[in-house]
Structures are given as C-alpha cells and as structure tokens.
Symmetry: none
Subunit: 204 residues, 4 copies
DNA sequence: CATGAATGAGCCTTCATTCAT
DNA sequence: CATGAATGAAGGCTCATTCAT
C-alpha cells in the first residue's frame, strides 16, 4: 500500500518557503519548486490543490499560533502589563522561541503575500494587535490619565514591533542576540511611550 | 508640440503611479495604464523603453531629492542635532512638504518595487540613512558616553521613520495633522532613545 | 489607426466552425485554430475572451434566427397548419434557405456542444418546439378528437425533424434535393401522424 | 479467487458505464471511476489496458448481440415483414427485452462515443441496418411497385428508430410503457411509409 | 508620432498511464 | 495482484513588447 509521504509534503513546503522567501510569491514558479525539490510538477498537485494553497500551508501553523496568542490576550484584558514581572519575562522568552522557530513564515505573512489570496492577513493581524494595545493604553490611563498616544503612532509602533520580529528573523542571530534585541526594543518602546506623557513632550 | 509630448509623458507617469500604488507593479498591466490614461499601448513605448523604465521614472525625482538630502547631511556631518533649534524645525517643515508632495512616490519606492529591477533601492536608502544616524549617535556619545543603541534597533528606527512617512501620506491627513504626527513621532523616538541610556534600562 | 479586422474575426470563426465540426469542441485546440487560420494564439484572444466564447459566436446568429422563428410561431398560435397553403410552402422555402445557409452551425448546436457551456441549448430548443407541436396537436383535436399522439413520440418526431435538418446539411445536396427530402419528410410525418388516429392503428 | 477477479472487472465496467452515461467519455476521469468503484487506479490498469478499452468493454456485449441480430436478418433476407404475424410480435418482445437490458450500453454506443476510438461504430450500425431496410423495401416493391422512399429518409427513419430505443431507455419507463411506445412508433413508421406511396403524397 | 493589433514564450493546472512498494 | 503516488506532456490563457499602417 502506497501512502502520501509526509516527507514529500514537507519537502514541498520547505522548498516553497525558501523560494517564496527568496523571490516572492509571484516570481516563484511551480516549476521552480518542482526543480528545487526534485518532485515532479504533477506530483506536487497530488499534495496541494494550487499554488495558493501551498502558500497558505506555509503560513498556516504560524497563523494558528498567532491566533492562539490573541485569544490569550483576550483573557488578560484587564491586567496591566508590568514589564518587570516574571510573567512578562516568561512571555518574552516564549515569544523569542516562537520567532526563532517561525522566521521564514513570519516573513511570508508580513512581506511576501503579494499576489496571493492572503494579502489581507497582515492588516488583519495588525488591527487585532492594535485593539490589544489600545486596551492596554486605556488601562494605563485609568491610573495616570495624562497618558496620551495617537492611534496613528500606536499603529505604527505595533507595525514596528512586527517589523522587528520579521527583521530579527531574516538574519542569523543567535537566540541570545535576539533576546537582547527584543529587550532593547521593549525598553525603547516603553520609554518612548513614557516620553509622550503630556508634560514631558519636546514639541508642543 | 514639445509641450504636448511632455504632457503625454507626464500623463503616462501620473497614471502609472496611481495604478502601481493601487495594485502593485506586477498586477498593473501596460494595457491598464493605456486604458486609464487614454494613451495607446504602442505610444507608451514611444516614450518609455519598458514597464520597468516607467516605474523608474515614477520614482526618479523623489530619489534625486532623497539623494540631495543625503549630500547635505554629509556636509553637516559634525553637527549635533538639537531638536529645539530653529534649523531642525525648519528642516522638519521642509520634510513634511517633501512628504506631502511625494506621497505616492515614497510608497512606490518602499512598498511597491517588487517585480522591478529596483527592489534593492529601499535597502540602499536605509543603509545610507543608517550611516547618518550612526554618525549622529557617535557624536552624541562623544559628549555622553553612556549612550548606547544597537545597530539593529537603529536600523529599525530609521525604517520606522520612513514607514511613518509612507503611512502618513497614504491617508488623507491635512498638513497640520501630518505635522502633529511627525512631532509625536520625534518625541517618541527622542525619549525612546533616551530610555536606552545604560542606567535607565528596564531590562538588563 | 489600426482596427480589429472583421476578416480576422471572420477567419477565426470560420476556421473554428470547420474544426469544431470535424473534430468536436474538446478535441479542437486553440493552437489548432491558430495553426489552421494562421492567426497567432495571442491574437485570437484579442478577438475572443475564451474558447467557449468562440464557440458561442459560431452559433450565435443561427440561435437568433431560431429564436425569431419561435416568436413568429407564438403569434400564429391559433392557426391550424394547412400543408397545402401558400403560406406553408413559402415557409418551407425559407426554412430550406435557412438550413442551407446554416449547415455547420446547426450541426454545432445539436451535435457538437459537448464540453461547452452550451450543452443545454439543444434540449431547450426541442422543448420549445415541442410546445409548438403540442399546441398544434390540441388545435387539431379541437376539430377531430380521436387524434392522439403521445408526448414521447411527439418529442421524438421533433427530434427527428431537427436531426434531418442536421443531416441534410452535412452532405452536399443541392437546394432542389434538399427541398425534395424535406417534402418527403413532411409527407411522412403527416401520414404517420394520421396513422395514429385511434381507429387506424395496427397494434392495439 | 477467479470469481473475485471477475467481480472487480465487473465493478469497473458497471461503474464506468454509469459515469460515461452521466458525464460523457472525456469528462469521466479514471480517478472518478476509481473513486466511485473503490478500486485503486493502478488496479484498474491490471484489468484494462486503457480508458479506451474500458469503454469498449462497456459496449462489447451489446455490440455482439446487435451483430448476431444482423446475421439473423441476413438469413431472413427474402421474407416480407408482416407486422401482424406472430413472428414479428415475438421479435418485438425480444427487442424490448434487449433494450431494457441494454439501456445504458445503447446510449454509450450512439451518444457517448465522442473521444473514443469507436466513434465510427454508430455510423456502421446504421449503414448495416439501412441495408436491411433497403432490402425489405425492395421486397415490398416487388409486390407493389409504387412504393417509394428515398435513401436519405430511410436512413433517417432507421436513425429515429435507434434514437427512440435510446430515449425510451433513458427514462424510467416500465416494460409495459416501453411496449406501448414502441407499438406507437411502429404504427407511426408503418403508416408514415404508407403515406409515401406515390399517389397519396401531399406534396408532389 | 499615433494606433492597437500581432506575436509567442511562459505560466498554472490536468490527467492518462506507469511504477515502486 | 493491490495500492496510490509519480510522471510529464499538453492545454487554455496572459501580457510585455513589437510592428505594420
């Protein structure tokens, strides 16, 4: 009895990830994937319905993890983030692991979706994350109501955050380096936001 | 007659800018440009050698201005930026004008170059801008040597800056609003950077 | 100024008609049409959206004439056909001309639509013609109520009629020969129907 | 074991018949047959050389019966058909049984052969049947020499006959209904032919 | 120069048949 | 024999670019 081999499926996906990552979706031809993976064109279509579904499978797991993360944030809706807490430190570690393990996929989602049916996804994620950030802001204002940051800048900072995630994964940094970079980023974001307190602004 | 020809050339470029901006480079067909501009396909090729050269012409002027700006920065190599100085304020105003007048083009350069021969340009600009920032940092360190920011984060902040430029121009903000946003951004960047001073860090 | 040439359009259609007629729709490749007509594949698609629309254009005019004929029948709803009348004789002549001028097209409609989006058309035409025949039957019954023919056989006779039209056009008969054949057919159908009168049947 | 193999062969054929009948030969994929029958694609090719040979096997038996019938007609070459004779009535019953038992196959032969190597068969059968009919006509003329029917119409009537056979089996008629329809048809053909006697014609 | 049809290489996808297990 | 994955030659259609008028 012959079965669809998980390693072939894996081969197609891993090859596709690399090619999409290198050349983008549109410029990656099915025949490229076939040549590089050694799997004949026709057989690729035994494992996937279309080029688009190959792309989706490339990012599927990562999307699910992101989704789960959002659901967890929903639960912690009313907690104020304390950057020194053990919890946050633990989460940061998890986040770094996630990023390291999903380097290419994060890139595909945020940089390479042009030409696919999933171009809308980055925007959707950013919006959702924006709501999380927005909520956090209002909690902080509850205690200290001179806190003030425009939606526009908030959105940009979130975008920056994801962009850093993408970038930090495009290079061959060690886990330690990545950790340092993210810590630095968080320090930056934290004090940057602090600087937007009304009475500390440089420009008025 | 010369004027009429210039009109056609201009028409092609303006139409192309809008279409590239809306749909991206690859998904914009020459026939789309022809249809929207009213200029027959064949005649477009009397003015431009290729789709690629149309794209390049779309961003050419903006690239030149950016280039000029870099040359000016070279001259001010040894001056420390003072965010409260008249000079900086004047420059900010100029920058905002530049951005408003080059909304679409900036977007094309940083977001839409996929599929063209100019995909490398955003990276080149960022690197160059990075050198400017790097130099500024070292000047500041000369006075205050506990200042410290990693290359990675510096690059990201520059990227953020450009990204904000792009975003702020993708929406229909008034000049005043744009000014406020950029001020907020500068406040943020300034105090964020300040937070990276060694002895102020949250995480160590 | 260059314009789409009617002769090229005509060439594509005429070539397609012949190839569809010879080999059927599915076995006729766009490249076959291209080769036989001398028109490059790409240019065919300047004139038609798809293989299917080429097929439709092949039968379009003939369908319209058939449609018009049905509308005329609607008007004559309450007239009993008299096979000796001048009117019918005139109509027969018209019908023959129509058939001679639409040989291939009639074949395409009734024989060659497999694989197109127009497979349903022959059935539709037969049903419509069936209603016309049904109506005529009921008029005749009004005068002579022992007249009786089953829906099944009526449908078959109509089908036969169209089939004769198709066949008579697949060969190189002269107008005179076609006329004789159709007259013979009508004689046959007439007396055959007469034979179904209740009291004349062979089998009971 | 031998029995089991025969079962598989039978299963493939029966499944193929239904699918060919529903969707036509070309639109029926080997994988469709595999899915519906539950027999793996590879194993189908253990029993048949090609899709074409599957089709041929579908119609093989029916073709043989038709062939046998022709051979019998050869023997009765000089007998005039008497529609009231016991013999004919017996034959009609046999014919109906044959049709009922070969519904799908007759359809495959006359309607579904497009795309196979057996497209020529319907024509061959009609021609052969035509010779039988022709011979019968000349026998009848021997007794009554004003009998006259053109080759063309004769061929069409034969075609009609087969077509009715096909149609009558495409629906879910009971044996009794089928019998009635065929009787009606024979009445029709008989009196229709009678109407072609020279001196009874409507048109001259 | 203006016009838009002509050109054809190339892409995604299909599917009968083969073949390794 | 049984299984279903492997194979690869087409087919319909696209579109940047060229070219005849």
């Amino acid at each position: 009895m012959q079965i669809q081999k998980e390693d072939i499926r894996e081969n197609i996906i891993e090859t596709s990830k690399l090619l999409f990552f290198e050349k983008g979706y549109i410029k990656t031809k099915i025949s490229d994937i076939s040549k590089k993976s050694g799997i004949p064109v026709g057989n690729i279509y035994n494992y996937f319905d279309s080029k688009d579904s190959i792309f989706y499978t490339c990012i599927e797991n990562t999307l699910k993890i992101i989704d789960k993360w959002f659901l967890e944030q929903e639960k912690k809706k009313n907690m104020i983030l304390d950057f020194h807490s053990e919890l946050i430190l633990k989460e940061l570690d998890d986040m770094i692991d996630f990023i390291i393990n999903n380097k290419v996929e994060i890139n595909l989602i945020f940089n390479i979706s042009y030409g696919t049916n999933f171009e809308y996804i980055p925007e959707k994620i950013l919006k959702r994350y924006f709501e999380v950030g927005k909520n956090q802001m209002s909690l902080m204002n509850y205690k200290n109501n001179n806190y003030n940051i425009s939606n526009f800048i908030l959105k940009q900072l979130i975008s920056l955050y994801f962009r850093v995630l993408v970038e930090v994964t495009s290079n061959d940094y060690s886990k330690e380096e990545i950790k340092n970079i993210l810590k630095e980023l968080i320090n930056f974001l934290y004090s940057g936001s602090y600087g937007l307190l009304k009475d500390l602004k440089i420009y008025h």
